[in-house]
């Protein structure tokens, strides 16, 4: 056969192969999603969101799991975001480029790839046992914070590195200190990218199950953590407490995991509905990240 015809056919074959691979990946996802949606949609009622778990599948809801997840995210964010951005700034702008920094950088990159269950064991050892936080929301939040910390550090550094060196020169040449340069030029210019990285990291943390099970998050919680703010009828009318941080908790993925492993048909419907909620949450976070990145890229082009 003519060489040219072979080449043309090879070209075509590869194109078809490429399309097939793409479609396959998408198709599996669509099937999965449709399947879950069809099974779970009947349970997506207000009661499902406002009820505690129960032995009877039709009465069970995700209230405690959803609230637990929100608490976890808040704590994880409060701990990991300032630490992550701080470490990222230090490594990128302040640290001298020497062997030690190099060593630290490699380790952080590696930490980002450590399986999440290892973080669970670490959390169990440090927060639950050593610091005696018990199986509390605080221990869970700290553990997830450790998990997302390397990712936040890496994305902060990446975002800072994307800023041309000439911007730093411009700032220093005007007599700015390092901190002023970071605070007034580098952070504002990289905030979009940093936020994107943080949201993506957090949306991964939302779905994490293994580390939370390892530190002993419960699967059956029929109460909510104590509210940090309660309104009173008498002076001072508002009561603030962080006691809730030490309450035991559950989270969405754990609740789903629990329901999936039960034999009754009703619970698998509940699990499907829970998955829809969790997926919705993750997709919403990712959407915010995409919007942020898009808006930011339109605004700044070097």
């Amino acid at each position: 056969m003519n060489r040219r015809i072979i080449n043309r056919r090879l070209d075509k074959a590869f194109k078809i192969l490429g399309i097939a691979s793409t479609v396959f990946g998408l198709l599996v996802l669509v099937v999965l999603f449709v399947n879950v949606f069809l099974e779970g949609r009947s349970r997506l009622t207000w009661d499902f969101f406002s009820s505690f778990p129960s032995r009877k599948p039709e009465l069970a809801g995700i209230l405690s799991a959803l609230v637990g997840t929100i608490w976890l995210m808040v704590i994880t964010g409060l701990v990991a975001i300032p630490l992550g951005i701080g470490a990222g700034i230090y490594l990128e702008e302040y640290a001298k480029k020497n062997r030690l920094t190099n060593f630290i950088e490699i380790n952080i990159a590696n930490l980002a790839g450590v399986p999440s269950i290892i973080y669970g064991l670490l959390g169990l050892g440090i927060f639950v046992r050593y610091l005696k936080l018990d199986r509390s929301i605080l221990a869970g939040g700290f553990t997830l914070a450790l998990l997302v910390l390397p990712v936040i550090i890496l994305s902060t550094r990446e975002a800072l590195r994307a800023i041309p060196f000439s911007i730093r020169e411009a700032s220093y040449a005007l007599g700015a200190t390092k901190w002023q340069t970071v605070r007034y030029q580098l952070l504002p210019a990289s905030l979009g990218n940093i936020m994107t990285g943080i949201i993506l990291a957090m949306s991964r943390a939302v779905g994490e199950t293994a580390p939370l099970i390892t530190i002993g998050a419960l699967t059956y919680i029929a109460f909510l953590p104590q509210n940090p703010i309660t309104f009173l009828e008498k002076f001072p009318f508002i009561h603030f407490t962080l006691r809730g941080l030490l309450d035991p908790f559950t989270a969405l993925p754990i609740q789903i995991f629990n329901w999936v492993s039960r034999p009754q048909k009703g619970f698998s419907t509940n699990a499907a509905a829970g998955i829809i909620v969790l997926l919705g949450l993750t997709l919403a976070m990712n959407a915010v990240a995409i919007i942020l990145r898009h808006r930011y890229q339109k605004k700044i082009r070097w």
Binding site: S171, G175, A176
Partner: protein
Amino acid sequence: MIRQLNAFYTDKEVLKGINIDILSNSVTAIIGPSGCGKSTFIRSLNRINDLIPGFRITGEVIYRDKNIYDKDVDVDDLRRRIGMVFQKPNPFPKSIYENIAYGLRIYGINEKQKLDEAVESSLKKAALWDEVKDNLNRNALTLSGGQQQRLCIARALATEPDVLLLDEPCSATDPISTAKIEELIYQLKQNYTIVIVTHNMQQAARVSDQAGFFMLGELIEFGKTEDIFKAPKDKRTEDYITGRFG
């Protein structure tokens, strides 16, 4: 005034025993072929090269009777008094107004009236005021290259330096902008000491009072611009100026 200046990147010597007296309220041009160390030289004068890992310097740069490389020198304050404009325009991704106000803000000046005045007078000095006065809130990155470069000059002037370092300020601008910047340099000379690095021989001849010719990290010849261009003493200077190499 520069005494016995040597500069190194890691171990590579890029400046070898430079001695130059830079006169105040005049324009000193630094010319020479690519890689001759002229950028390194000018970047040593406000210590911006300190940012580059592995950069090392020996010798003295005397400014106001003090070696700027002494340990007790406040580098940030030094850089505020020795302004710099870079090869490529590098405005901050902010409004025109904020670009210029920045130098004052970091110095703790935040009163709107003072900032307004500084923005206006700097833009006027940099001959940009008429083009931008109606939209000072426009993002500086939307300006043309030549306008951006004049904005960078205005930004450097806002902190009221007494020395202005220009590192090939016209390498990325079109002829019209270049003419405007040259005119500007001529105007600014009355109040500022200007050092300009340039690739462009005609430009050096047009704007400068003294000129120094660098080659391979050495200062080959230094003197009045007229003398350098009309009657160079060194053969290499002559070859370079007449375009025989470089």
